[in-house]
Amino acid sequence: MPVAAVLEPYVYEGGVHKHGLIIELLEDLGGYLVQSTPAATEINLVMLIPRKDVPLMEELAKKILGKLTRAPLTGTEIAVVSPTLAYHHLPHSACDVAEHLRRDGANTNMLGLARGMGRRVALSQDYERRLINEHDIAVYSFGNFSDCIINKKPKLFSGVDVPIVATGSPALKTEDVKGADVYVGGIGRVSHRLRNEGEMDSLDVLNKTVGEVVDKMREEISRDPLAVLPARVMKEIKEQVPEINDVLSPAPITLQLDGMRVKLPFGQFHEKMEQLELDENISLSDVANIMPSKMKDYILIKIRRRSETGFTV
């Protein structure tokens, strides 16, 4: 059964006061808390709620004066790839793109290539390509010239297996940008924060486009479902590996469409992950590949499909 058919992704934004009620209700309903981000007296809760119970949650959110909004990109980890980390590309527009994607629930990582700038000289490294491939989707943030985007920059896509969304200023067709799954115009190189009406519209289009790509990927997964839901594994890790609660990163477990990144050292914790009990006589290593991540010394978990394991948990 497709993940999206059972659980709906939502973000709760409200005060810290009484937000525990939301978490309690979520647990009672059998939903999952994906991420909790407190900021002074406010809190953001990213959740997966059983579809039929969403009205219950909405009712409670309203009662405690919070806001519940749908966040279609929840449970995805997106790489926002910028040609370099120089001030030509950052913080605007690449960071603005990442921030806007996060508003819809995505976890984003900014990835600046070492030598991605220029035309003839632009190139990506093997390590960078492997790092990008650990994500669900790669969003490339390009500049203002159609000649560069059409003729020169697509070489940065080579070796990237995950779906690619390219952004740039000119209004081009997707088929003009070879190697990109989708192209979104109106978001090119700028030196100011993207906040004008047209710019915000383009960011909304980008979120919508990325959402469509995610929907397609979910649909593809639903044809041959994962042996266990990533959110379920996340819950088990939180219960069985208490050290995860000491990790200070905003998302100690970052969900992906077909797995997750666990921000604990691989050497010390991979055995605990392998032995994680999901059901009687079923441990995580039976249904998932547990490997070292290219990002720091984190653990990358990719869940196998039902066709491979022969069962679902």
Partner: protein
């Protein structure tokens, strides 16, 4: 940005000029240079990996020397020189220069307007201190202009040529070997910019 007399940005594809014009104007504003530049023209030919910029800057202020804003005299103690400043904005730069020259131990600041300096031969030092160049707006402008041009140009274009001749500034950048005709074109752009007949704004 209203103070610019002429502001032209040209690209091969006409529609791509306005976004680039916005980049140029944002960077000029960020660096606080809107009042210093009178005219500017930028031409970008992405297919040739070429970026050219010509600008005419406004008249540059003269150098600031120490005796312009300070009174320098012998102090009461042996080897002491008293510097009494009247303009505080030059103080950080002046202090840095004095620290570099005499060391931090030789300096005292009894109050914000006074610096007392201890040296071996005060008479000679007073003479040289009076003509100490504390601020050179021309040099600052040159580095600011180069900074602006590098920020405006596409990042990958790292083969660069720049020159500031009087009030005329040109900057050419590419990722390929620099060609003389590109620099000549930039000089022509500059002449057009200085001439009365404007070649039209693309934005």
């Amino acid at each position: 940005m209203a103070t610019l007399e002429k502001f032209v940005v040209e690209t091969t594809v006409e529609e791509e000029a306005p976004p680039y014009r916005k980049i140029v104007s944002d960077i000029i504003s960020d660096l606080g240079m809107a009042g210093r530049i009178a005219k500017i023209k930028v031409v970008i030919r992405p297919e040739d990996s070429l970026f050219q910029l010509a600008a005419v800057v406004r008249g540059v202020l003269p150098q600031v020397i120490l005796k312009d804003f300070a009174e320098i005299q012998k102090g009461d103690h042996e080897g002491e020189i008293l510097i009494k400043i009247s303009v505080e904005k030059h103080l950080p730069r002046l202090l840095q220069m004095l620290w570099d020259r005499y060391g931090r131990d030789s300096l005292e600041q009894p109050d914000r307007w006074t610096i007392s300096l201890f040296v071996d031969n005060p008479e000679e030092e007073i003479g040289s201190l009076e003509n100490l160049v504390v601020d050179d707006p021309r040099r600052t402008l040159k580095s600011n202009l180069a900074d602006m041009a590098i920020r405006v140009a596409p990042e990958g274009f790292r083969v660069r040529h720049h020159s500031l001749n009087g009030n005329d500034f040109i900057f050419v950048a590419s990722e390929d070997t620099m060609q003389k005709e590109w620099i000549d074109e930039a000089h022509t752009m500059l002449e057009e910019l200085k001439g009365d007949d404007a070649s039209g704004s693309s934005a």
